[in-house]
Symmetry: D2
Subunit: 374 residues, 4 copies
């Protein structure tokens, strides 16, 4: 059965819920693994103190027995620890007087205004509670399950920072799009790819501190790499079966992501065809194993929508968070008059590193789906 | 019913077939409109002579009666005029002796090798016939039907060249991501957006000529713009319902496309949050109509996965065609030995402009799907 | 967006989880309504004492704020109160020694053996925990949400017993497949259609008592009726868009259901075409409103896969429960030797009436999906 | 990739089109096989002379090369030979004067009226052209492709008449729901299951002749049997993954089918649980192969939505055709006045046997889909 999933949950509601079905039976799952990924998502420079206080934990409600999947849908619940402060504002029960909950104003850069027009709300909260980075916690949880599946097939995924707040972080001497040969025999090293050198960490901390002082927020560029992906995942026969198409959808579906690149796609577009493609490795080294290797990986591991055995490399651009201080001018939809919202006190300066964790998760979901479809 | 479609057809088989279902009844469709888009796809600098000789025409087999859809699935057939030269090589009937059809060798940059491994072929033709730019003719035909639907709702789409073979073509003085106000009241002007100034055309012709002489191929960057899209298309509540996610999937599903950007997404990632978002127009001009306008369109018309009323702007990077001259070294899969294929005689130097037409088509398909889902 | 849903949850796990997305915003939902349907499902003749002790309640985790949907996915949790007795046997955490949990033996009539072969288990519990009537509690909960939607559009659904344990219960003088005219202007009466006359209740109690004494179980035949369904739901243009096809799928998807009939479908098959179709009411009564009425409803409200405005009538046959006393002979999959399981102490004699509630729910889910697709 | 398909085509349009994707590469397909099934569909008692004159043939447009699938979507075209008489009435080109094509009146028992209300037509032809038994020719063609796949895995399907025009045809001494043991080692015998004894044929001819004379039409009951289906197809974990649910949907999606039964489902509902389930064969005959056999097959080969290794037996009830002579009274939707249509000259008295062929096809499509999903 095809892998499919649904998620639900508001940012300040009781919790987040996810169901994923189509996983094989016998897959070893342990809650600690999911929680480790949830913790990674909460860390990183530029996060608010809330992220440090609340630690997300996943509760498996269904689909796993004695540490192994049993073929039935896996259901996961992540409680929102902050919900206790929002019990009435976010209650599912009817309330007598809505006016005690003053409407939130729409913020440029969020789904707020578009959603309010779509659904006819005059309170942005009805939109922003779901259209929130909070929802990505469940994406990471489901992705962790898929990572477990992939790792049991020898496939590992990691991510690294390319740019942070407009500043290049990625070490220019490293290979931007590594080949399988460069990754080597042990792809599990990718799981620590996100760890930063002291130098890099210092640079990021400075950028973040400067932004925090001026009420600014920051975006960035992250790259996810999956290695030892076997050739043949995805398909070239229909656009919606192409793995590059599905990965692009998954990456662009992450809140804040505005651009996606496979391999060295953008620079490929500017050079001639003779140098823009990854030559077969066979001619240079007949003993090369596996035999289908390449001398470069500009394609990012996918040609014609199908994996070619080289590492799958995906780069995503994330815009800065839209919650700046003081907030951008807004509008009161009941009157269609401009309004200046009050300052928000506690918020993230940046979620770039978290976005990298989410990017790994969505790539893992798509790789697992394609692997199970083979 | 949800809009859905399937396509089929090999590059040198009898023809291409497409079925699209979920269109409303009463939509006016005329074959000339589809053919006009098919013609645009065949034109452009860098195309081979084959494109000039064969002109694609669409035959409507089902779903349209007396110029209007009747609610049933629309089926379109585009014959491959070159099929007469391939009748035996591409026959669906069994053949006595396969060996009279020498196997094609896999080309780096195509689905060839990945597909051969996937399906266990030793003849690349079994992969390359479907994994071909030829398939995009049907995408353009289905897109033309959707454009008709959208235009009857006042929504128009066009595309323009940003870069060609590494050279900037786009006039830097124009707005890279126009607002609705900049587009103005008549978005039908977008349908001639692809027309080039003499200066631009001359520049492209030179680039192409130089490439042709050296056996090179060229990629490029195209941008599609759809204007007067109402707010509320797509959804923020699930990643796979986000319109930005679906458009990214559609664009990356075009053969050769390796990167996709919404609006000014990449430059957004490098600036602070205060300047990276599109402020509501209301505060500056209370008489502005429609009231939900913006002062800029960095987001490319989509926030949180939902259209906000501003033009939807999508940019796609296309790598150069993989068929260079002489061809890149290949491999014989029966022996796993290197092989040098003979020169291909007739081929395109570039399909950048055609890709722009396909980009318009896939954006139209997704906008129509989202519009019908509202 | 299309209405879609997923459910999860084992019979003795922590609980059942359901997510449904695609509902409009502003739909009034209140937990009491869902619980009322859950209670109906637990009642009826032939239920075990467990059903009487445990009362299911639905907790809304997401998608509803202050009594109204907000456009985001609705998530529901139903706790399994019996889980406290199964904490170790059904724990998702790994266990040191699996042997303390003796394997369950497969029971003829259940998914047990087929599932064990499918997934390679030797413990039937890994199959039977999900393939259980317990899962229908969540179906009823999601159906209750859809009933709320439908009722706000004037559409009501009820069900009645046709046969119970081989004995005709349905009063032969009533119309087997009522027309809209027979239902009248107020279809909300259907919600009490399941209520039994004293005579009928007495008859059923006797049948059940006799079965319980002999360790037998009973099946039956239930009919669901939905009235004031507008014409035009579903479609004739593709088999998988036909509403009769979707309702048949939904009904046959209920555990234990083995046959489904629309309207008077079986008797239609045996009579001539002149009497087998529902004549237009117009000729006999020009003042009839709505004008599209029929003189009979043999078709059960659906012609060519589309609702015609007459009540949608679906009949489902349910086989008796497979857990008899003493149990049927089984097999030990570790040895492939026959085995005689011990008597089960507490179990239902019949779930016919519960199945009727589930049938109402699945019909409501499909009607809501089709109504939202219009 | 999941098996999926779309079909298109009006009854008197240029032809029928079908696309099916997800088939493996290397599957041997030959046009004669498809045509043989198309011929079976056109034969049988009660067919009009048109069926005898026009013989359907399938043209493979895509997805098959040199007698084998190549992994790409398979596209099939079946021309409508009668289209030459309908070129103008069914032209996709706009017409100057619609009034030269008098509107068809809606017929009770067809999608006509429901479809006209749904789409706002006043000409029933816009509905009836698609909502026609003609569309099942493509279903049979796609089913033939799937039968080829299944037969290459040892799975065969056939069908037989149970009732014809209300008269029992099925020989009561045969097993109504055969076990795998009764089918024996060679299931290919099922492909001649539809062949009738002289006695049976004579009885049917008489029934049909009598009906034809009185302008009547006839329905009937057909049963499809698939044998040597391995255990484990389908799933119990979600209703929409159950194979019984999918087969019910497929059968009820055939025009005219109004009821569906798995195995001996209806009689199961009326007996006690001890006799209503299929005991494991192991206890009685330890040498029985395969070891998972059953002593009976009341379940029709599917338990809990999963195949159990026994033959899959599906029975479908088809109402009589709605085109009787003289036609049933109709209505003119432009005036909402009653109208008596003129007699139709040439039409089928019955399509019961054809429906059996279609039933085989849709069962094959679902079995192939489930087999590929394993």
């Amino acid at each position: 059965m095809a892998l499919r999933w649904l998620t639900a949950g508001e940012s300040h509601g009781p919790g987040l819920v996810g169901i994923i079905t189509g996983l094989p039976a016998g897959l070893e799952i342990w809650p600690g693994r999911i929680d480790a990924e949830l913790l990674r998502r909460q860390r990183g420079a530029g996060r608010s103190k809330r992220q440090q206080i609340e630690r997300d934990t996943a509760t498996i409600i269904a689909g796993v027995r004695h540490g192994k999947t049993i073929g039935s849908p896996v259901a996961i619940l992540i409680e929102n620890k902050d919900h206790q402060n929002w019990k009435e504002a976010m209650s599912s029960d009817p309330v007598e007087d809505e006016s005690v909950f003053p409407p939130a104003y729409p913020r440029p850069g969020h789904a707020d205004l578009a959603g309010m027009i779509k659904w006819g709300f005059d309170d942005a909260r009805n939109v922003l509670e779901r259209a929130s980075g909070r929802s990505t916690a469940m994406t990471v949880a489901l992705g962790a399950v898929c990572r477990t599946y992939l790792e049991q097939h020898g496939i590992y995924t990691g991510s690294r920072i390319i740019e942070y707040g407009g500043v290049r972080i990625f070490d220019i001497e490293e290979s931007m799009v590594p080949t399988r040969a460069e990754i080597g025999d042990d792809p599990s090293m990718l799981t620590s790819l996100h760890e930063l050198e002291n130098e890099q960490q210092k640079k990021i901390n400075e950028i973040v501190e400067r932004a925090r002082e001026s009420g600014e927020t920051l975006g960035g560029v992250m790259q996810a790499i999956s290695a030892h992906v076997p050739p043949g995942l995805g398909s070239c026969v229909l656009p919606d079966e192409r793995l590059d198409s599905r990965i692009a959808a998954a990456a662009m579906g992450i809140p804040g992501v505005k651009a996606v690149e496979l391999g060295a796609g953008m620079s490929q577009a500017g050079i001639g065809g003779k140098n823009a493609h990854d030559r077969f490795a066979l001619s240079d080294d007949p003993s090369h194993e596996p035999w289908y290797g390449r001398l470069s990986n500009l394609a990012g591991g996918i040609e014609g929508g199908i994996t070619n055995g080289e590492p799958v490399c995906v780069t995503a651009w994330m815009k800065p968070l839209a919650t700046v201080n003081p907030p951008l001018p807004s509008i009161d939809l009941r009157t269609k008059e401009p309004v200046q919202p009050e300052s928000s006190e506690r918020s993230d300066v940046s979620a770039v590193e978290a976005m990298g964790v989410v990017l790994e998760a969505v790539v893992a979901l798509e790789l697992a789906r394609a692997h199970l479809d083979m």
